[in-house]
């Protein structure tokens, strides 16, 4: 078990290393010179050189990459002497736009993204698993067709389109909700709820659609398994057969999916946060992309990678507990 965990962690580190290397390489070779960008309009060649050397942009690729990586682990110092700026670990550099520390920017935005992800996850699990079960148990009926049509629509509707539709209907036409605006939970819980309700619904709709299709397929598959026949031949009552023998095999694979999706969402719901103006990591990523703010893009990409890798790992470990067949043989 320990060996297995160790192997998983090493594989995760390798993935993160490659992600950071690729992302760094892309910016190094493909992107316009950040020094010019920082310098602005009133710029002299001397000033550009000064910025370059302060940020270490005049160094060769590997050295720059090394500085970046060591900054994450031990922090780094920009420039020398009195004008030097220190950046504590984990240092992801400073925004070209605001000069803020990227680490702080991300940390500030995380709570919003976590709120968005958790709320949406609760909704989509309830709707997706519930809908899928209903559909499978009532296979071929009107219920099944209704849920599956809804799910098909859900996976075909881009979430920004759903977001606009929902906003148009609920805010502009029916006026059930105010225009989205930020609010704190402690100061004004109602406004807070109103601000998050639509993002939750929009995200949950898309995921629930996907999950209900998968759950339905899994349950129908399980119902056709031989062990279901055995369970009925034992004389168990129908609800026990369903609860004990059908549910677990049907839902266990969903755990993998959920772990990955949830981890991905924690790294920011780019589109949803942007459309609803929520200041989460996703919106930070979208904004930094439009402004070509490289250190921020780099930081957000790495965060997303880290979360996906961790999510992957948690899922794998959880799976060994959930499916006895993949349990690592210890004895």
């Amino acid at each position: 078990m320990l060996f297995y965990l160790l192997r998983r962690v090493l594989a995760g580190i390798l993935v993160l290393f490659l992600i950071s290397l690729f992302t760094f390489a892309i910016f190094f070779w493909l992107s316009p010179d950040p020094a010019v960008q920082i310098c602005g309009k009133t710029c002299t060649p001397e000033r550009i050189d000064q910025i370059r050397s302060q940020l270490g942009l005049d160094l060769p690729f590997l050295q720059q990459y090394w500085q970046f990586v060591s900054g994450i682990f031990v922090g780094r110092t920009y420039g020398e002497g009195a004008g030097a700026i220190t950046c504590a670990a984990p240092c992801l550099g400073f925004s070209f736009q605001t000069n803020q520390s990227v680490t702080d920017m991300i940390a500030d935005r995380m709570p919003v993204s976590v709120t968005v992800a958790v709320g949406a996850a609760v909704l989509w699990l309830l709707a997706g698993v519930g809908g899928g079960l209903l559909s499978a148990v009532k296979q071929g009926t009107g219920w099944d067709r209704t849920v599956m049509f809804g799910a098909l629509a859900g996976i075909s509707l881009p979430n920004y389109f759903v977001a606009l539709l929902l906003q148009y209907v609920l805010v502009v036409q029916l006026q059930w909700l105010p225009f989205p605006h930020a609010a704190s939970f402690t100061e004004d819980p109602v406004a807070w709820f109103q601000a998050y309700l639509m993002p939750w619904l929009v995200l949950a709709f898309g995921y629930a659609a996907m999950y209900s299709r998968i759950v339905r397929t899994n349950v129908i598959d399980t119902l056709g398994q031989n062990f279901m026949r055995t369970a009925r031949a034992k004389g168990l009552d129908q609800s026990l057969v369903m609860r004990r023998h059908a549910l677990r095999p049907s839902l266990t694979p969903v755990v993998t999916l959920f772990g990955m999706d949830f981890a991905g969402l924690l790294g920011g719901a780019l589109i949803t946060e942007t459309v609803f103006g929520l200041n989460g990591v996703g919106k930070l990523a979208a904004d930094s992309i439009t402004k070509n703010d490289q250190p921020v893009i780099m930081g957000v990409t790495l965060l997303a990678g880290l979360l996906v890798v961790i999510g992957n790992m948690v899922v794998d470990v959880a799976y060994t507990g959930l499916d006895p067949r993949v349990r690592v043989r210890s004895a």
């Binding site: 992302t23 075909s156 991905g264 992309i289």
Partner: protein
């Protein structure tokens, strides 16, 4: 003390029919099942209609007299911040789907040209990923060993990637250049493992099937077996995977364009039109409704068709 199981005679007969591909019967069966399903017919009609609209975009442009970049100041009200004149976002005999607020470009023609871009990118990416996915998946599944190790690790790596954000980072860093081509490349890099994984699994089980073993025993070369025996049996899976890949790429391309890293203005794209419409949604909902509806219909139709094909071909886990 074993007897000859009497099923054996029947089974070998059934398997024996497989190597020839069994082309006419399954194909006819699939066509029949598609023909008898209203959902499948409707989705084919939608796909054909949108494809025609895309192909005939220049003709439509000539008929309506608008080209996708042409401003029409007479269709918008400059006193109202450039809102389209007339109801439903300026729908009129001249502008069938109304005009864009602010500049008065014809939405119908932009949607038609947007379809061209969307379909071109999605279909190209599908062709590329299907080819790469099938070839690498077959190599990994058929030959196993080191080839399988290498291909599988690369697939694992690509699938563990935070794909969307990385695509965005990549596209934002890349110089403008030929955007549609760049999008196809980026979509393909991250798309092929999903095809390859399933093809690999099916190839592995086909490799051990009796007719492949028979071909091997008769001295056929590996490449010949791969193309003559294995590939024909993957046909159903490939068709289903490709059909379901198209809506995925259409959606991703639209999403990237929506975020401003996809197709760059002034080239029209559905995602980008919806993105511009965000600022106008409260006063001119038609601006996001029209491209959004086309995007939805296209993705929906391809998904329904893919689902039907999967059911008809019964390719199991080709999700």
């Amino acid at each position: 003390m074993t007897t000859v199981p009497s099923e054996l005679a029947v089974e070998t007969e059934a398997k024996g029919a497989l190597p020839s591909g069994g082309a006419p019967t399954p194909a006819r069966r699939v066509l029949h099942s598609l023909r008898t399903s209203p959902g499948a017919i409707a989705s084919i009609v939608i796909i054909v209609a949108i494809a025609l609209m895309a192909i005939l975009a220049p003709v439509l442009s000539a008929i309506t007299g608008w080209d996708p970049y042409e401003f029409d100041p007479t269709a918008i009200d400059s006193d109202l911040g450039g809102l389209p004149i007339g109801p439903l976002g300026g729908v009129s005999a001249e502008h069938w789907f109304g005009v864009e607020p602010g500049n008065g470009r014809d939405i119908f023609i932009r949607v038609a040209y947007g379809a061209q871009v969307s379909l071109l990118i999605a279909v190209s990416a599908t062709l590329v990923t299907t080819t790469i996915g099938v070839v690498l998946g077959m190599i990994a599944g058929y030959f196993g060993g080191i080839a399988d190790q290498v291909i599988s690790r690369v697939m694992d790596f690509l699938m563990a990637f935070p794909t969307l954000i990385f695509m965005i980072a990549l596209l934002s860093a890349l110089p403008a250049g030929n955007r549609p081509a760049l999008l196809v490349i980026v979509l393909s890099i991250f798309g092929w493992p999903y095809t390859a994984r399933i093809i690999r699994g099916q190839t592995m089980s086909l490799r051990n099937s009796e007719f492949v073993e028979a071909a091997r025993a008769s001295g056929a070369k590996p490449l010949r077996i791969a193309f003559r025996e294995v590939l024909p049996n993957l046909r159903g899976t490939i068709i289903v995977l490709a059909t379901l890949a198209v809506p995925g790429y259409i959606g991703t391309e639209a999403g990237l364009s929506f975020l401003g890293v996809g197709v760059t203005p002034p080239t029209p794209s559905w995602g980008q039109m919806i993105s511009t419409a965000v600022g106008w949604y409260a006063v001119d909902p038609m601006y996001f409704l029209i491209p959004g509806t086309f995007l939805f219909l296209t993705v929906f139709a391809f998904t329904v068709l893919g689902d039907h094909l999967r059911k008809a071909l019964d390719t199991g886990d080709a999700a």
